[in-house]
């Protein structure tokens, strides 16, 4: 850290010092991890080059296993993106005060992960050079086109939703002069935190947090519909829209928890990501593990009870057939582990939520695998069932590169924006404590009136 920067930092408040330090101080571990992740990313780019050059034959895909790792990753990453927007928007709308230190890190996950999710179907295209045909020859009956539209809108609105609450912090960095003055002058866009600007800002955030909720729900609903609109066994199900939205939020909470534990460790944010945050998010995880079980149980019981032959082939392939290992690992990761850990106060700790969060992320990846692959290899016309699917190293490399790219971009972003919202913490200290006390007082019966008297 340069001497003048250190002096400037020393003059700031303790909150600002802690939260701005990552922007001006970078550890060796950071550079080493970034280099490693970058190398994985470049390896994935090389794999993609081979795929474009020689064709999708380089994957393990075949007929009838037309979709594989890329589509699984697509559903998975767009699912993770529901972390930020929905959690942060719902908590804002619900006036949950404990959100203040976690919204930023969640919103950042959203924006970065949408990008990595949205490129997956393009990687999956046989003719990526013709991707723009989707615009030039748009055919609006196709759920894939609905998807392009809703993800486009989602990415746009989530980026704004990340950016607008960033403004006061960007202005703070600009005014402090600790880093790249010209960049932050541009990014802060003339924001000076005047009362009028602040009021407008809060109004915009209020509108945005309401608007992004239906958009986010539409995104994963439509991803579910891509499958559900076909006639294929165990895809053609009305539960898929809501099932996918619920699963998306679930995997998102898992991802936030993992990110928070890591951020807390590397940037010493113990004062911001407190035990209470892990406790509360752990309770949300518990709720969603139960919801996940409920949806999954409802789906599988309906299939089993109806006992249509084509559906039953897929059903048994998952329960006790070739997909039994991914299926029961999914149940373990997406239900048993998080349910056991999160139902006890003693394990709703950072460590416990880390384990549960990772189990959920892995379990939800497997859930998408168990949706895509077993149905693909068991087409409705039994005589054509011949396939097996083993992803090639190209597909696995691209998947690894996607994870690496996402983590790398997230790491780099924490070097440019405070990962905990400084102004919202300040606002929490200065105003919210009193506001909440006043609000709670309004919930209670008025003590000045005798019991039974109704104020007219």
């Amino acid at each position: 850290m340069r001497h003048d920067v250190r002096e400037k930092l020393a003059r700031m408040s303790p909150d600002e010092q802690t939260l701005l330090r990552p922007l001006v101080e970078t550890s060796r571990t950071f550079y080493i991890s970034a280099a490693a992740l970058g190398a994985i990313g470049l390896w994935g780019l090389y794999a993609y080059y081979l795929q474009v050059r020689y064709g999708l034959g380089r994957t393990g895909l075949n007929r009838p296993e037309y979709w594989g790792i890329y589509i699984i990753s697509f559903v998975f990453f767009i699912g993770i993106s529901h972390a930020g927007t929905l959690i942060s928007a719902i908590l804002r709308v619900a006036k949950a005060e404990w959100r203040r230190s976690i919204t930023r890190s969640a919103e950042l996950i959203t924006v970065i992960v949408i990008g990595f999710g949205a490129i997956q179907p393009i990687i999956d295209l046989g003719r990526p050079d013709r991707a723009l045909n989707i615009i030039f020859n748009a055919q609006f009956r196709s759920p894939l086109l609905w998807d392009v539209m809703s993800i486009g809108l989602y990415f746009f609105s989530c980026t704004i939703y990340l950016y607008v609450p960033l403004l006061p912090d960007l202005a703070l960095i600009r005014d402090s002069g600790i880093k790249m003055p010209r960049l932050y002058r541009f990014l802060a866009a003339g924001y000076h935190d005047t009362p009028a600007q602040r009021a407008r800002l809060e109004r915009v955030i209020g509108v945005l947090s309401l608007a992004v909720i239906p958009i986010a729900i539409s995104v994963h609903t439509i991803i579910g519909w891509i499958f559900a609109m076909t006639l294929r066994p165990m895809w053609h199900s009305t539960i898929f829209g809501p099932y996918f939205v619920m699963g998306a939020i679930y995997s998102g909470i898992g991802a936030i928890l993992v990110a928070m534990v890591v951020l807390r460790r590397v940037y010493h944010l113990e004062q911001y990501f407190k035990d209470v945050h892990f406790d509360y998010l752990g309770r949300m995880l518990l709720l969603f593990s139960l919801l996940w079980f409920y949806f999954t149980f409802a789906e599988y019981l309906t299939v089993f009870y109806g006992a249509e032959p084509a559906e039953m082939r897929v059903f048994w392939a998952k329960i006790s057939g070739p997909f039994a290992i991914p299926f029961w690992t999914m149940v373990l990761g997406a239900f048993v582990i998080p349910f056991v850990l999160m139902s006890r106060q003693a394990t709703r700790t950072p460590r416990g939520t880390l384990i549960a969060g990772m189990a959920v992320v892995v379990g939800m990846w497997l859930e998408r695998y168990n949706i895509v692959v077993p149905t693909s290899v068991n087409p409705i016309w039994e005589l054509e069932s011949l396939a097996h699917y083993m992803p090639s190293w190209i597909e696995l490399s691209i998947m690894a590169a996607t994870f690496a790219g996402f983590i790398l971009l997230y790491m780099v972003a924490t070097k440019f924006i405070p990962i905990v919202s400084i102004w919202e913490i300040r606002e929490g200290r200065q105003e919210s404590v009193k506001q909440v006390a006043d609000r709670v007082a309004t919930y209670l019966p008025d003590s000045s009136l005798p019991a039974g008297v109704v104020e007219s």
Binding site: Y54, G55, L56, G57, T59, G60, L61, N62, R63, P64, E65, Y66, W67, P121, D124, L125, G126, R127, P128, R130, A131, N133, I134, F136, N137, A138, Q139, R141, S142, P143, L144, L145, V148, I226, M229, T230, L231, R232, S376, P379, I380, W381, L383, E384, L386, A387
Partner: protein, 234 residues
């Protein structure tokens, strides 16, 4: 143009399963007619062989009381095709005469149509097509070859219809039933495959499709295929 709009034509096929011997001549004729590239054995073992017309064998019953049936399976050319609805770029569409066609130059290779098809008749070009030099000499100039990364499927030998129309027009007569016959039908040694206009009462398919033995694959899905099968007599 006005005349064509007035006459409703729906090309269709009737396959008599009693007559099919499983000789696969239809498959071979189709591959040769439509420039369908062969793939190496390892690719075929992965499930990447292309066969617009495929003779599928169905074994019924338990050994030793088994019976074997062959289903020659082209594209069903559904009247309500699930593949057409899902294509995001309208590269697969149903034309005026009910044939489901594929625009190879527009297809982006998302394979959604292949997933939507309950009959699994859509084939993807995992690699670019390759032919041995000896085969290359015999490519059919009337059928475009497909590049890597696009979907292809049975077209009811649509290029033959265009040729037949031109011939009929040149000779100043109407199109006759025998003028337009796909390669599989032509090659079938037992005449198990009958092809024609399902709306034209002089065509044999029109009568055969109403035969008591007539059925369509997975009729309950509501896809309304234009390929009919005549059930084997017990």
């Amino acid at each position: 143009m006005r005349e064509r709009a007035r006459i409703v034509t729906r090309w269709g096929m009737v396959i008599d399963l009693d007559r099919c011997t499983g000789c696969v001549a239809c498959e071979v004729a189709c591959k040769s007619e439509n420039n369908i590239a062969t793939v190496p054995p390892d690719q075929a073992a992965m499930g990447r062989a292309k066969s617009w017309m495929k003779v599928v064998a169905e074994v019924e019953g338990e050994f030793p009381d088994t019976s074997l049936h062959f289903y020659p399976r082209p594209c069903m050319q559904c009247d309500n095709p699930p593949c057409v609805k899902v294509c995001p770029v309208a590269a697969t569409y149903i034309n005026d005469e009910g044939t489901v066609a594929q625009i190879y130059a527009r297809c982006i290779g998302c394979r959604y149509c292949a997933n939507a098809c309950p009959y699994t008749v859509k084939y993807f070009n995992w690699y670019g097509p390759e032919w041995a030099d000896s085969e290359r000499q015999h490519l059919n100039p009337d059928v475009s070859v497909r590049p890597k990364g696009v979907i292809e499927k049975c077209t009811f030998c649509h290029h033959r219809l265009q040729q037949a129309r031109e011939d009929a027009r040149a000779e100043g007569r109407v199109l006759r039933e025998e003028d337009y016959q796909p390669a599989c039908q032509e090659a079938c040694p037992t005449a198990a495959i009958v092809f024609g206009d399902l709306e034209n009462s002089t065509h044999r398919v029109r009568q055969l499709k109403d035969d008591p033995r007539s059925m369509r694959l997975m009729e309950d899905l509501g896809t309304a295929p234009k390929v009919y099968y005549l059930r084997p007599r017990e």
